[in-house]
Assembly symmetry: C2
């Protein structure tokens, strides 16, 4: 943005002559999209840093060095901003589902590709909003919308697991519990990644996929699912200390 500002307008005109009003219109539209994205990203960063309820539109405007009416030009409310942050993160996962749909590789590889994008999305600035938007006090309509998008992702993962069990690339398992375990591990990244950034989002996603794929039990070892003969703690013991 600074670069664009610093180049003289006449020079820009020489390089990219505006041959048609349609093109200029497209450019304006693109400019608006870029600015709207900047507003959403700024909101995501403030929500990350201070939490949704502690963040005001003034904070977001201040971060962008604009006025609050400028922010209102792009979104109607703070609630909408949270929703847009949620969607921006979730859209990365939905796009991954679309990308893998036509690939002729085993379902496990398609699932892994989706999980990588999922992990990267949760490690992005939108991660907090993706996993915590539902906890905020949102309107019933917005809560429903968020729930339905989450449900779409959940069912997409279950579907890939079922396809993997069918094509033999995934160990027979309970698709629902497996989807919950995978999504839980990935969602939890949003809780610890703010404090521990020793790896990039892509590295974390890759490490998690390797863990999900391989499992803890060494490959080639005798298959055992023996339980350790442990005394089971019961309710009374739960509180004793």
């Amino acid at each position: 943005m600074n670069n664009r500002r610093s180049s003289p307008p006449s020079a820009a005109k020489t390089i990219v002559p505006s041959a048609s009003p349609w093109r200029a219109s497209r450019e304006r539209l693109h400019d608006r999209e870029v600015k709207r994205d900047a507003v959403i990203r700024a909101a995501a960063r403030e929500f990350n840093r201070k939490g949704y309820h502690n963040t005001s539109l003034d904070d977001i405007a201040a971060r962008l060095e604009v006025t609050k009416p400028t922010v209102y030009y792009y979104v109607t409310s703070k609630e909408q901003l949270l929703f847009e942050c949620f969607v921006a993160g979730v859209e990365q996962i939905r796009a991954a589902f679309r990308d893998v749909r036509e690939l002729s590789v085993p379902a496990r590889e398609r699932l892994n590709a989706v999980l990588r994008h999922y992990g990267e999305a949760v490690a992005s600035e939108f991660g907090w909003c993706m996993v915590r938007a539902e906890d905020q006090d949102l309107s019933p309509a917005m809560s429903r919308h968020i729930k339905s998008l989450k449900s779409e992702i959940d069912h997409g993962i279950r579907r890939l697991i079922r396809e993997g069990v069918q094509d033999g690339s995934i160990q027979p398992c309970d698709p629902k519990m497996t989807a919950f375990a995978l999504a839980g591990a990935l969602n939890w990244i949003a809780h610890w990644y703010r404090e521990d950034r020793s790896l990039t989002g892509a590295q974390i996603a890759e490490a998690f996929v390797a863990i999900f794929e391989g499992g803890l039990r060494p490959r080639g070892s005798v298959s055992r699912l023996v339980r350790a003969p442990l005394p089971r703690r019961r309710a009374r013991g739960a509180m004793a200390r």
Copy 2:
């Protein structure tokens, strides 16, 4: 408790004669502990239902059909109640660590036993407090205490993973990322278990351990960690929709 109330006091005296004032003292102490546990459990259920900030000590007293001063007899503040709920859940995991310490079974089996208790604890009424206590506005001292207990659990899991890699019962892996993936999957139970109680906590824990152990890739298949040849989405695409 209703049973105890309905049996006549004289009958109880006949069965268990109070032979010494020390025994009576122990009984009073036990009685106090039982009541304190009831206060903590009632708090956990209210926090689950309404969230920490929306729950008052009056709500907790009302649930127990006692007065607020009675609640104050057992805890000093709402903050302490949250902490006690957190500790009650976490203590189930710490107890599991103690139980497995002396067992002469491979580390993976000891880890699995801990993970089972972990899963059950998160599915218990203390689950929400265990995974969300840190997000509340707590005093710095209490936050530090909670963080240090969480860190103890985290490091306990990493240690069992390292021991498992050493004794050959766990596939060589990054102990930190693996611990984060396992704990994340288990912690997330607190988010969905309130709405979906189709399985018991023990069943979920068992299902998760099977998933962690076995991994998605079928046993006996050729070891492949080939990545699907997917276009990687970048920042621009992240927001486009």
